[in-house]
C-alpha cells in the first residue's frame, strides 16, 4: 500500500521515535526517564504495527505485540519497582552536560541521515526514511549509554537502542520472521541478564551507580 497518508503516518511515528530519543537525552530523573522510555516503546509499537498494516505482513503484529507487552508495560513497571525498592537517588548523574549531550545527539542524527540517505538512493522512500530514523535512534541510545553513569539508565539506553533495531528490521520489507523473533528473544535474554545483574549488584552494594564500581576498582589498583 502506498499513498501520502500511509507514508505520512509511518513518517510521523518513526520521526517521533527520534524525537522521544532526544527527550530521553534530556531527562535527568530516573522516573521521568522510565516514563519517556515507555512512550518510546509505545511509539515503536505503533510504528511496527503500522508497518505491518502497510506491508501486509501479519507477523509484524507479533513483534508489535511483544514490544507493547514487554517494553511498554512489563519492563518499565519492573524497573519502577526496582528503583523504589533500592531507593536510588533519583537524579541521574551525567558524564557531560545535557546541552553538550544533546548537541552530540543532533550531530549523530545528522550523521545517520546523511549516511543512510546517501547509500539508499534506489530503495523505497519509506524504507529509506525508516532506516535513517532507526540509525538515529540506535546511535542516540548508544549516546545515552555512554553519557549516563547509572546502571538503570544505561539499561534504558540499551533498550532504546534495541527499539531502533526493531524499527530497522520492521522497515526492511519482507525481512523474515526469524529475525523478529530473535530480536524479541534477545531482548528477553538481555532483560534476564540485566535482571540478574541488578539483583547481584543489590546483593553486593547499596547502589546501582556504576561509578561506585569504578571506585572500588580504583582503590584496589592503588
Amino acid at each position: 500500500m502506498q499513498g501520502p497518508v500511509y507514508f505520512d503516518i509511518a513518517h510521523m511515528l518513526a520521526g517521533g521515535l527520534v524525537l522521544v530519543s532526544m527527550m530521553m537525552l534530556y531527562q535527568d530523573r530516573l522516573y521521568a526517564l522510565l516514563n519517556v522510555f515507555a512512550l518510546h516503546s509505545l511509539l515503536l509499537t505503533l510504528s511496527v504495527a503500522w508497518q505491518a498494516f502497510i506491508q501486509g505482513a501479519p507477523h509484524l503484529y507479533v513483534t508489535a505485540a511483544i514490544a507493547l507487552v514487554f517494553k511498554v508495560v512489563v519492563i518499565p513497571v519492573a524497573l519502577h519497582h526496582m528503583i523504589r525498592k533500592l531507593g536510588i537517588h533519583r537524579e541521574i548523574e551525567t558524564v557531560v552536560g545535557i546541552g553538550a549531550t544533546m548537541l552530540a545527539g543532533i550531530g549523530l542524527v545528522a550523521l545517520s541521515i546523511v549516511v543512510m540517505l546517501r547509500v539508499t538512493p534506489e530503495a523505497d522512500p519509506l524504507t529509506r526514511e525508516d532506516l535513517a530514523f532507526a540509525l538515529s535512534v540506535l546511535l542516540l541510545g548508544l549516546l545515552i549509554m555512554v553519557t549516563r553513569r547509572n546502571a538503570v539508565s544505561q539499561v534504558v539506553g540499551f533498550m532504546s537502542l534495541e527499539n531502533g533495531l526493531v524499527l530497522a528490521a520492521a522497515g526492511a520489507k519482507g525481512m523474515p520472521l526469524v529475525v523478529e523473533i530473535s530480536v524479541a528473544f534477545s531482548i528477553l535474554i538481555a532483560f534476564i541478564v540485566i535482571g540478574v545483574f541488578l539483583f547481584r549488584i543489590r546483593e553486593r552494594f547499596d547502589t546501582v551507580d556504576v561509578r561506585a564500581l569504578d571506585d572500588v576498582r580504583g582503590r584496589r589498583r592503588k
Binding site: 549516511v115 543512510m116 546517501r118 547509500v119 539508499t120 534506489e122 530503495a123 524504507t127 532506516l131 532507526a134 540509525l135 540506535l138 541510545g141 548508544l142 549509554m145 546502571a151 544505561q154 540499551f158 537502542l161 534495541e162 531502533g164 533495531l165 530497522a168 528490521a169 526492511a172 520489507k173 519482507g174 525481512m175 523474515p176 526469524v178 529475525v179 530473535s182 530480536v183 528473544f185 534477545s186 535474554i189 538481555a190 541478564v193 540485566i194 540478574v196 545483574f197 547481584r200 549488584i201 546483593e203 553486593r204 552494594f205 556504576v210 564500581l213 569504578d214 572500588v216 576498582r217 584496589r220
Partner: protein, 486 residues
C-alpha cells in the same frame, strides 16, 4: 527444507544436539558431583562428532545450515579446545569448590552455561543464515557474560557489566549491518528467507548495491570487531579475562574471539564477491595494526597476569585480522595458521596461569616468582607457552608470523615496518615478564599443584609439531581455504 534433507545432517546435528542436550541435562539433573564429568564427556562427544565431519558426506547447503571447507576447520578447533578446556576446568573448578569461591549451585549453572556456550559457538559456525549466525554469536556472548560474573565480587561484576555494555553495542551494530545486507540483497534475490542465506548471497553479490554493502560491512566490522576485541573497542576484553574463571578466559581467548572473527571473514568474502564495493582489506589492516601496536605497548604496564595475557590476545587478534585484511593466498594461509596456533597456545597458557593463580592465591605478577623452581611442570609449561606466543622458533606461532611478515614485505613493504615493530615490542614485554615469573627468587605458596597437565602439554605439543612439520594434506587444505578467502 524438508524432512529428508534434515536426516542428512546427522554429524552436523550431533555437533549441535550434544551440547544442547548436555546443557539441559546439567541444568535439570539434581546434585553437582557428576557435572564436571558430564561436561567432559559431552565435550569429547562433540569433538568426535566434529571430527566425523571430515569423513562423512557433506549435505548441500540448506536454508539455515551449511558445512564447507572453511567452517570445518573452525568447528574442529573449537570442539577440540572446548574438550581440553573442559578437562582443565574439571580440576580447576574442583579447587574453586574446595576454597569456597563457588557453591555447588554455581557449579551446575557453570557447567550448563559452558555447554550452552559451546552450542552457540558451533551454531555460529554452521549457520548459513546471517540472521541465525547473529543470534548464535549473541547466545555465546551472553552466556560468557554470565560466566564472567559468576564470582560475584566487585571486580567480576564490573567486568561483566562492562563486557555486557560493550557487547550490546556490538550486538546492535552487527544486527544493523545484517539488516543492511538483507536490504542490499532484497532487490536482487527477492523478499523472504532467501535474502539472508549466505551461500545465495555470495552467488549473487555482484549485483548488489555496492554503497549499501559498504556501509553494512562497516557496521559488521565494528559490531563483530567489538567481539574480536579490536582496538578501540577492546575495553571489555582485559577485564572479562581477568575477573572470570580461568577456563572461561581460555575459552574467550581461544574460541569466542575466533567466532567473531569467523563472522567477519564470512562478510569479507561476501564483500569481495562484489567488484564495485570497497575492498575490506585496508579497513581490516588498519584495525589490526592499531590493535597490535596498542596492545603491545599495553603489555608493559600490566600487573595482573591474566590481564597481561588478555592484552596479548588483543595483539594476536590484531595480527590475524591484519593477515586476512592483507589477503592473498600466503597471507590468508598465515592468518589461518596463526589463528589455530594462537587458540592452542593461548588456552595452554591460561591452563597454566589458572593453576598458578590458584596455588599462589593471587593474580598479581609481582607476587608470582620463580615458578620453574617451585612448580617445575607448571613453570616450564608456562615458559614454553610464552616462548611460543612471543613467536620464538621452533613453535608454530613463529612459523605463521614469519609467513605473514615475509608476505607483507613482498606486497606492502611499508606496512611491514609497523607490523614488525609491534611484534618486537610485544616480544620484549612478554620475555621481560616471563623471566621474573618463571625464574627469579621464589615467592608465595609452594604447595604442590593438583593440576591436570594433559590439556596444557597436548596443546603445546601440537604447536611444536606444527612449527616443525605441517602434514601436506593439512597444508593443501589450508591453501584451499586461503584461496577461498581471496
Amino acid at each position: 527444507m524438508n524432512a529428508s534433507s534434515l536426516i542428512a545432517f546427522d554429524a552436523f546435528a550431533a555437533v549441535l544436539a550434544i551440547p544442547i542436550a548436555a546443557a539441559a541435562l546439567l541444568a535439570l539433573m539434581p546434585g553437582y558431583k557428576a557435572t564436571a564429568r558430564i561436561n567432559v564427556a559431552a565435550s569429547l562427544l562433540t569433538f568426535a562428532a566434529a571430527l566425523s565431519l571430515f569423513v562423512t558426506e557433506r549435505p548441500a547447503p540448506g536454508q539455515y545450515l551449511l558445512i564447507d571447507d572453511l567452517n570445518i576447520v573452525f568447528i574442529v578447533l573449537n570442539t577440540f579446545v572446548g574438550f581440553t578446556t573442559s578437562l582443565f576446568s574439571a580440576s580447576y573448578i574442583a579447587h574453586e569448590l574446595e576454597t569456597g569461591r563457588l557453591t555447588p549451585a554455581n557449579l551446575r549453572f557453570y557447567h550448563a552455561m559452558y555447554q550452552v556456550m559451546m552450542f552457540g559457538m558451533n551454531l555460529a559456525f554452521v549457520s548459513n543464515n546471517i540472521g541465525l549466525m547473529w543470534v548464535a554469536v549473541e547466545l555465546a556472548t551472553l552466556t560468557t557474560v554470565l560466566m564472567v560474573g559468576i564470582y560475584r565480587t566487585h571486580e567480576a561484576l564490573e567486568a561483566a557489566w562492562k563486557y555486557f555494555i560493550l557487547g550490546s553495542v556490538g550486538i546492535a551494530f552487527a544486527l544493523f549491518g545484517t539488516i543492511l545486507i538483507y536490504l542490499a540483497a532484497q532487490p536482487v534475490i527477492g523478499e523472504g528467507y532467501d535474502a539472508m542465506v549466505w551461500t545465495l548471497l555470495v552467488e549473487r553479490a555482484a549485483a548488489f548495491d555496492p554503497a549499501l554493502l559498504n556501509v553494512a560491512f562497516i557496521f559488521l566490522l565494528l559490531g563483530y570487531g567489538t567481539k574480536v576485541g579490536l582496538a578501540p573497542l577492546h575495553a571489555w576484553l582485559p577485564d572479562a579475562h581477568a575477573e572470570g574463571p580461568t577456563p572461561i578466559s581460555a575459552v574467550l581467548s581461544g574460541l569466542l574471539l575466533n567466532v567473531a572473527l569467523y563472522a567477519v571473514l564470512r562478510f569479507k568474502i561476501l564483500l569481495a564477491a562484489n567488484p564495485e564495493a570497497i575492498s575490506p582489506g585496508p579497513l581490516m589492516m588498519t584495525m589490526g595494526l592499531t590493535s597490535l601496536i596498542f596492545a603491545a605497548f599495553m603489555l608493559y604496564r600490566r600487573r595482573d597476569i591474566k590481564r597481561m595475557f588478555a592484552y596479548s590476545s588483543i595483539e594476536h587478534m590484531g595480527i590475524i585480522v591484519f593477515a586476512f585484511g592483507l589477503g592473498g593466498p600466503l597471507a590468508n594461509f598465515a592468518g589461518l595458521l596463526h589463528m589455530v596456533m594462537h587458540s592452542l597456545t593461548k588456552s595452554a597458557i591460561f591452563f597454566a596461569v589458572g593453576h598458578i593463580a590458584q596455588i599462589k592465591g593471587t593474580q598479581r605478577l609481582s607476587a608470582i616468582r620463580g615458578l620453574t623452581e617451585t612448580h617445575p611442570a607448571l613453570g616450564w609449561g608456562l615458559v614454553i607457552g610464552v616462548a611460543a606466543i612471543a613467536g620464538l622458533p621452533p613453535m608454530g606461532v613463529f612459523m605463521s608470523e614469519f609467513l605473514l611478515v615475509s608476505s607483507t614485505f613482498a606486497r606492502q613493504p611499508l606496512l611491514a615496518v609497523p607490523l614488525v615493530f609491534g611484534l618486537l615490542v610485544a616480544f620484549g614485554a612478554l620475555l621481560l615478564r616471563l623471566t621474573g615469573v618463571a625464574f627469579g627468587q621464589p615467592r608465595g605458596s609452594r604447595q604442590p599443584a593438583e593440576a591436570s597437565y594433559l590439556p596444557m602439554y597436548s596443546h603445546l605439543l601440537l604447536v611444536l609439531i606444527a612449527g616443525i612439520y605441517l602434514p601436506p594434506p593439512l597444508v593443501a587444505w589450508f591453501q584451499h581455504i586461503a584461496n577461498l578467502l581471496r
